[in-house]
Amino acid sequence: MDLKDLDYVFKPSSVAIVGASRNPEKIGHVILKNLINSGYGGKIYPVNIHGGTILGHKVYKSISDIPGDIDLMVVVVPAKYVNDVIKEAGEKGVRAAVVITAGFKEIGGEGVERERKLDELVSKYGIRLIGPNCLGVIDTYTPLNTTFAHIMARKGRIAFISQSGAMCTAVLDWAYESHIGFSKIVSMGNKTQTDELQLIEYLADDPQTKAILLYVESIDNGQDFIEKAREVTKKKPILVLKGGITEAGAKAAISHTGALAGRFEAYNAAFKKAGVIMASDVSELFDYAVALSTQPASRGEIAVLSNAGGLCILTADQLVKRGLKLAIFSDETIKKLRKSLPPTAAIYNPVDIVGDADKQRYLSTLKILLSDPNVSTVICLLAPTALIDPYELAEGITEIKKSYPDKAIITAFVGGPVFKRAREFLMEHGIPYYDMTIRAVNSAYALNKYREIKDRKPCRYVTVHDVDNVYGAELIRRVRLDGRNVLMEHEAKELMKAYGIPVPKSYLAKSPIDAVSAAEYIGYPVVLKIASPDILHKTDIGGVKVGLRDSEEVEDAFDEIIMNARKLAPKARIYGVLVEKMVSTGVEAIIGVTKDLQFGHMMMFGMGGVYTELFRDVSFSILPICREEAIEMIKETKLYHILRGYRGLDVMDVEKTLDVLLRINQLIRDFPEIVELDINPLSIYKSGEGVMALDVKIVLSKE
């Protein structure tokens, strides 16, 4: 559906309320009252079978009785009548509907069928639908309030989209008290037709919205979300509060990637790729939003200004903890500060103008800091003293800001009622005000983060051509034909080889004699490993024997491995034993891929070997990745410092490691049916000597 028709939801020239009620305790009454009180200027048509008048408006007995055209219809009738109303509205040519009524998919059974029918009807008549099972919609610029919330939102630049209606009312009330304003508020309900994807796309071009906030419990089309959000975040920031990203329950994973890649990591990787900033709670979400909707996205060159030393130190600590940097002042700034401030003042960042400072000292210092080219954001801290009138200071800060439109100012006046008026003034004039230093630091973080997102280099996806995908397809076909979806190690390694990733020489032996001849052919020493699609942790069941030097050892190891497997994995299908050349190990890395249910394939890179899960030194990215993203993945880990030659260690082959990441990326593009892949370890040798995949696990989707 065309997104333009969302205009009928937010800027309708007429609104019908179907199910309007005379009873002040009914939702149908509250919504009508809210709509009238919001100052809505268009035509209002209450609809109720009993007719009459409600709140001074003539009531129509049905939609068809309404004389004029209807842009928006708000539906609050009982669930069983909703589809009849929609049908009638469709015949009448109503453009959009907000269905408040509950009793659809969320109740199961008949509700599911009812929602399916509703979806069918709105498609048939081309009606733009919000809901059902939602709180409604607010637009403060139209103005329009079709919700049954107890208050109207203040006017502002933040659009808030929520999957939970209750979250909307909670946020409305809290934000009102905090002097935070909104451009639009949308409660999506069951998202039958309109979901967060369409809304962010629409809001991207909404001139009244500077920041888009999202509260979601589920994201249905993860890949589409990433793609859409990536476009929108070039224009304006998207902030997300996602419910349910941590997981309860014990850890029991089959691969290392599995153990490390949980819901949280998937969302984190997805939001990173999308350029979406994730908040951990409602207050953090709005700390971010207030700054991003009023201040320019600035680089993390932060100056801290305060009349209290304690606040300075706290803020500096918090900035460092969030990975932000204090600006280093230019010589000229230092000179000016030394000249203008008393000798007891701290003139290096953070700047403490000490407790006896008056408004004049505060404001002139602020000007000096803003004029420094090395400063892009100033956090203005204030502790209450008798020497500064906070309200007058707020006026002064607001005035100065006008001369520095490209720089960000964030205030944190730490105290209580004494700052009430100053807070109102600052918030109304577009200067973020917080009552705690950490919240100012949060907002500085958001500004810096969004700047990074905007500055991201465009990603160029390249195809790796020197891979044998025909052989790959044949190999996968053979595995499927055998009724399996788990590749055995030798098959997984053949696939690696086909994709240009080096693996040790190996051979599948079915008997001890077989194993000995393989070992003699490959050359001692060799490693023997159990070959079974049902045994993924070979070492755990005694399925691996290393450093075998002669035929006797090989023969012995073969029998022992089979015996161990029968004892400890009695149900496993045993195909034989893999005989493999024993190679030296370099620095051990892990490369993993897992297919996330929401976001698709996710790649992991980091420290490999037996300590993988202990150190958890890994980075994630949603696939596909471009070269730049692959480089970033490597650089995000501590392992990178080791590869670069930490404290005199050898420099390792980073270039070849990068090459493997891109080849795996290609493999997944060619065979998206791979749902799990683990190379652990990938042995990385000295620069120029390459890499080798020593153990590889691959699992395909079940057909």
Binding site: E247, G249, S255, A259, G262, K510, G576, T594, K702
Partner: protein
Amino acid sequence: MAVPIYICGSGVSGKTLLIYGFMHVFEEAGYKVRYFKPVSRALDKVGPGKWVDDDVIAFKELFMKEFEYDDVSPIVIRDRFFEYGEESKELHKLIKDAYEKISSDADIVFIEGYASPKTLASINLSGIDICKLLNAKMLFMVREGYDKDIDKAIIWYKEVAESGVATLGLIINSVPIHLWDRLNTFVKDFLYSKGIKLYGMLPDKEEFMAPTLLDIAAALDAEVLCCDDQLERFVGDILVGAMRPSSALKWLRTSRNPLVVTGGDRTELLLTILESGVAGIILTGNLYPAIKVIERAKDKNIPLLLVQPDTYTTINKLHKIHGRVTSSSLRKKKDMIVNMIRENIDVKELMQDVLG
């Protein structure tokens, strides 16, 4: 007069399923076939106070509706059986009478044995005793085919041959992939040198012993919350849903036809399980799942079985079901077993040896 074949194999060796397959193969070749289990061991009661073996219930339903349970299996034993020793003559007569009744119009009778050839010799009801009584030839069956299994078969063969009962050859069931080549060459020759014919080997196939969801639902007395038209599916691995959803995903992906056992209150985990294509889900502790779980299960056609006991008890019960035979699971496995027999067993040779 019908020709009786006594199939000897220990424990859960797959005798029942093999007999079921042979009955179809021989029937299709134009013979009238019957099933007979002279001595059976019962786990369940059928009707008021009557103990009947699962196999007997299944075969009566599938092949021998017109007969009574007592005709198909005249002697049913439980944990105590030495008391029977004093009435061997009467028991032999019972067996003989029942056999005559069911075999009167048959060409071939497949007699399902009770463990090894000498088991129950203490009460004169061993395989050797029965073969002598009914003049049956004995066919041997072992599982897997490791050397110890073959050794057992050779010992049995010798015992039976020495007793004067006519012997047929050997069939090896559930052969692991890595043993196949050795059995087919070296071991086959070794057996031959001992005078034992290897008719063939059946590969290890999980579905062979697997129960269907219907069997499980019946055994656990489960309430089917969704998709009762999907209960004929086989169940392979049994997974306990105790991990976090993303970890569960890895297990689900590598398991074969899994049945997941978990509490109905674990909504997020259940939604993940439903996305990954499982055979079915058992919800334990009588915890009714969230509506969205049921709706998703309907979308995905995945049966949800609600049971009263907790997860641990349920798992214990499930392990006992494995290998048990019902008419529904036999019916479902018919094509698989018949094809496996045709592909892997020298049926012509066997027929010749049986019919002489």
